[in-house]
Amino acid sequence: MQFMYAWFPTGSDAPELRYVLHPGRGQTPHIWRCRSGAESPPSLAPAAPLLSWYERETTDLCGVAFRDQPVPDPLVLLPGAAAERPPLMPGPLPHLSYTPVPLPMPDLAGTTREDVQLLPFGPVRADVLESTQLAFYYIGEAILHYQPRLFFKHRGMEKRFEGLSPALGTVLAERVSGVGSVAHALAYCHALEAASRCEVPSRATWLRVLLAELERLYNHLHYLGYLCHTTTLKVGEAQGKYLEELAKQVNCQISGSRLLRGLVVPGGVRREPTLLTLAEDLVRIEHELRRYADQLAATSSHLDRLITTGVLDRQLAFDQGATGPVERASGIDRDSRRDQPYGAYDELPLSVAVRDGCDAHARQQVRVEEITHSIALIRAVLDGLPEGSLRADCRPPPGGEGLGWAETPRGTAYYAVHLDTAGRLARVKIKSPSFSNWRVFPYTVHGTNMMDYAINEASFGLTVAGCDR
């Protein structure tokens, strides 16, 4: 099971539920469709726990209640927020009222309340960080229970797509999670290309791999710098951030945008990127990276903080829907680039980094290895880039629909796209990897200690914007 969502078929007030499953390597996704009629549908969360958040979101945004939902609380709309009508139901935009509700004290069996303290952080956090609220229920250094309150950044992005022409939706998809601009645009365009059955020229599919791997490169470099920040390894932090800056300058050089925006379009890529100095720049980054990675792997003060921190066992990772480097560091050998290949990945030498350490250290190792794989992929693209056109005509038919996915630096993103009878966007569902990984993350915090928290959070490499949308 990957995710579920609801949409309202054109002219209908009755929602249809969609469940998306990826059965295994090399197989195309299965989509279950379900119209429940007057009766409310049963919750599938007891059988597939990762569905819980999707069901709660569907209740908030589409007004579908699920029978026997284990946690029937709102999710995407904060406690105290009330929409006149479910925002994704067809019709005029609803007004949203909001009276903030303070964080509750949970019922903690076996502990007297007086011992337990609540430490709330946020939503405005220190430094330059994304907004989210974190609640720690603790005794001394020990965290008994941890509850992130997300969705302060809910912007109603899925609704923003409605009514747009499919081409303009790409501009929006790039702005769901800025540091995942390429992968989000790709997943979105893949959905349109599936709907229109258009064949993307091979030169474009290769260039898309190049862009996606450059995105992974600067994100993972950022990740290492920030992880060093939390383990207070100052020089390691500076060097990681410096390498990230070099990578972003390369992005700017080749695409005109430091976040690689504006090149991916439905049907291909918009223009030729400037690749003149890329091979040379890669040599430089790779050279510095090698020494940097060796240093990290040999610094015991850094490793001591990572090893056994934030343990996520394999079963939990699988059941709760962990994705990307997080699941691969818990021994799950999955990567949509290889398992449900898209674009040119099946023509290129792709390796998948897997570790079974299940801790922050394993998550770092996966990222370090992925950086080297990304550099190898970029090189392979530069060496074998086929000639040809950049863009095919991509016009999804009125009433059409498509499912697309792409492996972002943080895991698999899915876009499900439905068009109306005029060929405009009727429903766009975004399944972002951070939504999945934020769901998993708290399980690794309960019962740990305050000192390790920041390191553990950094080791997950979460974004809030993608999760909250």
Binding site: L172, V176, G466
Partner: protein
């Protein structure tokens, strides 16, 4: 073991040498090669009656005036997300990509390309900041619903390349010690309260910067059921910095502009010549 390793990192750091760009005072902008910025508009090349660019602009940055005696197009850089779609759509080449990165402005109107004469009076501001802050500025950043692209660039300010500290600018966790509230994102319903609280907690005089097109005007993500359209109706904004996201030099420029150490680059939507910064002023 740890005792041995830390000096190794120090050595390693020293061996890396100085990565910081000289940045200000040089002719070209180091590290920004290839940047595609806000489109430029050439009135003379604009074809009558064609509205291709208007229809392709998602955030509605381009407005079209049907009255032929007036200027036909108004491009509002406060809404532009530098997607370059208008450049591609324009059949006559009236809109062209430029390498102008985003630029800060003290007045929202100055981001609109019109013929209106713009006058700015920053002298009072300058005197105030100089008088109160001396040479350092403390910033409280509030993410009011960004896509995290803006944060990515704000975080870059402290990397060894830009090394913002040398300008005497610091991010502070507490609004009580902050001089400047730097806001990203279109302002979601849930962040409106925390944002206003942060502002209220700041001592006077306090300044506000809307960083990124979202915070300036809502950009592509503002409006809808969950968002405002940027800061303008919520807080008194001292500097508007569009760009999606604004790149680090643009942010530094806007900060320095706030400190009156560099002049405003855009007036009435027209970009002036590059600034000349006497480097010793803040090196």
């Amino acid at each position: 073991m740890a005792m041995k390793v830390i000096p190794l990192w120090t050595l390693y750091g020293l061996a890396r040498g100085k990565a910081t760009t000289r940045w200000c005072g040089e002719d070209a902008e180091p590290g920004q090669a290839g940047y595609l910025g806000m489109p430029r508009f050439d009135q003379a090349k604009c074809q009558q009656g064609c509205r291709e660019c208007v229809d392709t602009c998602l955030p509605g940055a381009i407005t079209f005036c049907p009255d032929a005696s007036k200027q036909r197009l108004t491009v509002d850089y406060g809404r532009c997300v530098v997607c370059q779609l208008c450049v591609e759509a324009c059949p006559t080449g009236a809109l062209t990509s430029s390498t102008d990165w985003a630029f800060g402005s003290r007045r929202r109107e100055d981001l609109v390309w019109t013929r209106a004469a713009a006058s700015t009076d920053g002298m009072t501001l300058k005197r105030e900041i100089r008088r109160v802050f001396g040479r350092s500025l403390h910033i409280r950043h509030v993410d009011a619903g960004s896509c995290n692209g803006c944060e990515s660039e704000l975080q870059a300010l402290n990397n060894p390349y830009y090394n913002l500290h040398r300008f005497g600018v610091f991010f502070t966790p507490s609004p009580r010690f902050a001089d400047l509230l730097l806001v990203t994102g279109p302002v979601t319903y849930a962040m409106r309260g925390p944002l206003l609280e942060a502002y209220e907690a700041m001592p006077d005089p306090r300044f506000v910067m809307a960083a990124g097109t979202c915070a300036v005007s809502g950009g592509t993500n503002g409006g809808g059921y969950a968002c405002d359209n940027g800061l303008e109706e919520l807080l008194p904004v001292d500097v508007f910095l569009p760009g999606c996201p604004p790149n680090p030099p643009a942010i530094i420029h806007a900060l320095l502009m706030l400190l009156q150490r560099s002049p405003q680059r855009v007036q009435g939507g027209q970009i002036g010549p590059a600034d000349e910064h006497p480097e010793d002023d803040y090196a």
